[in-house]
């Protein structure tokens, strides 16, 4: 059974999407886009509490039959969504947290690139490499 996982990095539209393996990519994109709504819901539900926290690990957004979807949002409103196959039960919460932290750090490096314009799609070999190694770990 091919495991599938993927990640999306987005403000209001995707800056970076990756899924492994690439069949069922459309379904994966759909899952990821709908999960952005869930992220928004969670953020507005938290309200004032947001302001004090530096990072927001949102945890499991919602389980579906096939996937578990995790969310994370930075205080600059950049949303990360990770989709993991439901059959992957070995993945622990703190592992997911640390993966999101790595993503956040890599994203910060990209933002510091003077030639990167915020809002552009992300084309970075360093980012790709980091995501690849994370996906190897998870899928």
């Amino acid at each position: 059974v091919p495991r599938q996982c993927g990640l999306l990095c987005s403000q209001n539209y995707p800056l970076y999407i990756r899924s492994v393996p690439t069949e069922n990519e459309l379904k994966f994109h759909y899952t990821v886009h709908t999960s952005l709504d869930v992220v928004d819901e969670k953020i507005s539900a938290m309200g004032k509490a947001l302001v004090d926290q530096r990072e927001l690990y949102l945890g499991l957004l919602y389980p579906t039959e096939d996937y578990k979807v995790y969310g994370y949002v930075t205080n600059s409103k950049v949303k990360f969504v990770m989709v993991v196959d439901s059959s992957n039960t070995a993945l622990r919460d703190n592992e997911i947290r640390s993966m999101f932290r790595k993503l956040h750090n890599s994203y910060t490096d990209i933002m510091c690139n003077p030639f990167y314009n915020p809002g552009d799609r992300i084309h970075s070999r360093a980012f790709d490499t980091m995501v690849n190694s994370m996906m190897m770990q998870v899928c």
Binding site: C112, N113, P114, F115, S124, R125, A126
Partner: protein, 180 residues
């Protein structure tokens, strides 16, 4: 803003990130203003020159070094003292010519390009750190050494290493004629 030699360096450190981001913003802005890479490079060189002619006095005051008696000593001084003092890195020095006036500084690490992965495709001839060449050229000029300074290799352009070439242009004058 005068400093006496031997006075301890005050610990007014500014964050490295701020400096690197400032330099990046400078280059990015120049890229917006000039279409040709050569123009951006020239502008960076001029800015660097303007910094170098001023920085040399700060360097001499803070490092209290003895006068260099040869081009080779000068190149070593630039790499081991100046680069270390201002950028925190120490490039290695090699002499490129039999005549003893051409040197290379090989930069293993370069903080200015911390966040730059590679040059944008449309900027393939950009010498991102050309400011450094101007700084070296300006500083040397103020101690009466004329030199040409340029990037011979650049990791950002795909070369194996980043190499700054310094070519001293005049034979050293007799010591009794040398000032400073």
């Amino acid at each position: 803003m005068s400093r006496s030699p031997g006075r301890k360096q005050e610990n007014h450190k500014i964050s490295r990130e701020l400096f690197v981001l400032t330099y990046g913003a400078l280059v990015a802005q120049l890229c917006k203003e000039y279409e040709k890479d050569e123009d951006v490079n020239a502008c960076l060189d001029r800015m660097g020159y303007s910094i170098g002619i001023r920085l040399i006095d700060d360097f001499l005051a803070r490092s209290a070094v003895k006068k260099c008696r040869s081009y080779s000593e000068t190149a070593d001084m630039i790499a081991q003292v100046a680069f270390k003092m201002y950028l925190g890195v120490t490039p290695s020095v090699s002499c490129n010519s039999v005549t003893g006036n051409e040197f290379s500084l090989i930069l293993d690490k370069n903080p200015l390009v911390d966040f730059v992965e590679e040059l944008p495709a449309e900027r393939a001839s950009l010498c991102y750190c050309n400011l450094l060449c101007g700084v070296i050229r300006g500083a040397l000029e103020m101690v009466h050494l004329a030199a040409e300074v340029s990037f011979l290799q650049d990791r950002l352009k795909g070369d194996a290493v980043t190499e700054i070439g310094i070519t001293f242009l005049r034979k050293p004058e007799d010591r009794r004629h040398r000032r400073n």
